[in-house]
């Protein structure tokens, strides 16, 4: 019992758990001492609130308080009303969307859409590639012109053939050479294209041990030439022939 009487102060300051509070209330019905003390101590606790300095209240406070009370109240009522009001078409769509799309499902949907676009894009590209391949197949490489090359001077036994290959809009010159004397040191055979007395380099080659060699050269667009000449150059990268002519058309 004594223990329970100790809870009187805690009961008054409302610091008992719900269970303890209920127990104390039961105890209070039976304990005359607590009943007697309760009232006076509770009053004392409440008297503490009078320990304040009287402070002048600002004039403007009344309207601020009244505005707050009645605005707040209106707001609360408005909130209740608003819930009942029918939503606009847009709001309804949004609310349906919100209801059906959680953040996760939205993310998943977005990823799926991105994947779909990706696949579509990919298949478009694939189509283009296939089309290009088909075009190529329908437009095979054609030999436009053939030339035969004959050897001169020390390479008199050398022979060669040259082909102009048309492949779409591209023209390639292919030259195959046989029985070429082996080169020494820095020596290379250089191909020259002749037009109106001007020579243009079309690449260099070094024949293998059997004296065979192959060279291809992509002609510049709209380019034409009259003759092909091959020289033995003492070093590569010449822009004009220095060495002796060994083969020609």
């Amino acid at each position: 019992m004594e223990n329970k009487c100790d809870n009187l102060s805690l009961f008054i300051i409302n610091e008992l758990t719900n269970q303890d509070k209920k127990q104390f209330e039961d105890h209070l019905l039976k304990c005359a001492k607590c009943q007697q003390e309760l009232k006076s101590i509770q009053e004392t606790w409440q008297m503490l609130s009078y320990d304040v300095e009287e402070t002048e209240v600002p004039e403007s406070l009344k309207s601020q308080v009244m505005d707050f009370v009645f605005e707040e109240n209106k707001f609360l009522k408005h909130e209740e009303k608003k819930e009942a009001e029918p939503m606009s078409f847009k709001e309804r769509i949004l609310s349906v969307a919100k209801k059906h799309f959680s953040p996760i499902s939205t993310a998943v949907t977005a990823i799926l859409i991105i994947c779909l676009i990706g696949f579509y894009w990919n298949s478009l590209h694939l189509k283009d590639t296939i089309k290009a391949l088909e075009n190529n197949a329908a437009d095979p490489t054609q030999i436009v012109t053939t030339y035969s090359l004959t050897g001169e001077s020390f390479a008199a036994s050398a022979t060669g053939s040259a082909y102009l290959l048309q492949e779409g809009t591209e023209t390639n010159l292919v030259i195959a050479l046989n029985n070429m004397p082996i080169t020494k040191g820095n020596e290379v055979y250089q191909v020259w294209l002749l037009k109106n007395g001007n020579r243009q380099s079309a690449g260099t080659l070094i024949p293998d041990q059997n004296g065979s060699g192959l060279i291809t050269y992509r002609l510049p667009p709209e380019y034409s030439f009259e003759d092909i000449g091959i020289t033995l150059e003492p070093n590569p990268f010449n822009t004009q022939p220095q060495g002796q002519k060994v083969l020609g058309t």
């Binding site: 409302n14 509770q42 009053e43 320990d51 209240v57 009344k62 308080v65 009244m66």
Partner: protein
């Protein structure tokens, strides 16, 4: 309006009668304001917030005030203190709940209407409570201030004072009894034995 009792004004408020609320404001705002400004340590913004919440509570309360449930002014101050401490605790991010309206009413039950205010002026009451507090020991005074005005719970106070919770509980009990005795002595009430 001026001639109506607090009880009648509350009845009118339940019927959404705005002038009744304004009359209660005029009667009690000074007390509520003075109380709130002390508990907020002079913060006029917070004080305004508290006064607004107190009157919003009064306006939205759907419970008819019954004089037998205790003094209206004490009930009002209990609400004010609860709202204030709620605000203070929210700002200090304290845990713990503040008693609800229902509890406030239950607390008042069993308290018979005894209009102390009619016996002595508020100012006299203040002097008496201050005098009664002065007779408490230093730790007892500190306890009452932390508990009543700062809104600390007993276990928080036990932590602050670095004392077992049991010690703080019995200190509270002693402090309240001593206050009561000092107080009663002053106003000529029956002196209770310690």
């Amino acid at each position: 309006m001026k001639s109506k009792s607090d009880e009648e004004l509350i009845e009118l408020i339940v019927q959404n009668h705005r002038p009744a609320l304004e009359e209660l404001y005029d009667r009690y705002v000074k007390l509520i304001y003075s109380f709130s400004i002390k508990i907020t340590k002079g913060d006029t913004e917070k004080t305004k917030e508290i006064v607004q919440q107190v009157f919003l509570r009064l306006w939205t309360t759907k419970r008819t005030y019954n004089a037998s449930q205790g003094q209206f002014v004490n009930w009002l101050l209990t609400i004010t203190r609860n709202i204030s401490i709620d605000l203070i605790r929210k700002e200090q991010k304290y845990k713990g709940t503040v008693q609800l309206e229902l509890e406030e009413w239950q607390q008042m039950q069993g308290l018979q209407s005894e209009d102390v205010e009619q016996q002595v002026t508020r100012n006299l009451l203040k002097q008496q409570i201050q005098e009664a507090k002065r007779q408490l020991s230093e730790p007892q005074q500190r306890l009452i201030n932390l508990l009543y005005w700062e809104g600390y719970s007993l276990s928080e106070i036990a932590e602050l004072e670095q004392k077992p919770l049991g010690t703080i509980k019995s200190r509270l009990h002693q402090a309240l009894k001593k206050l009561r005795n000092n107080f009663n002595g002053k106003i000529g009430g029956v002196r209770h034995g310690e």
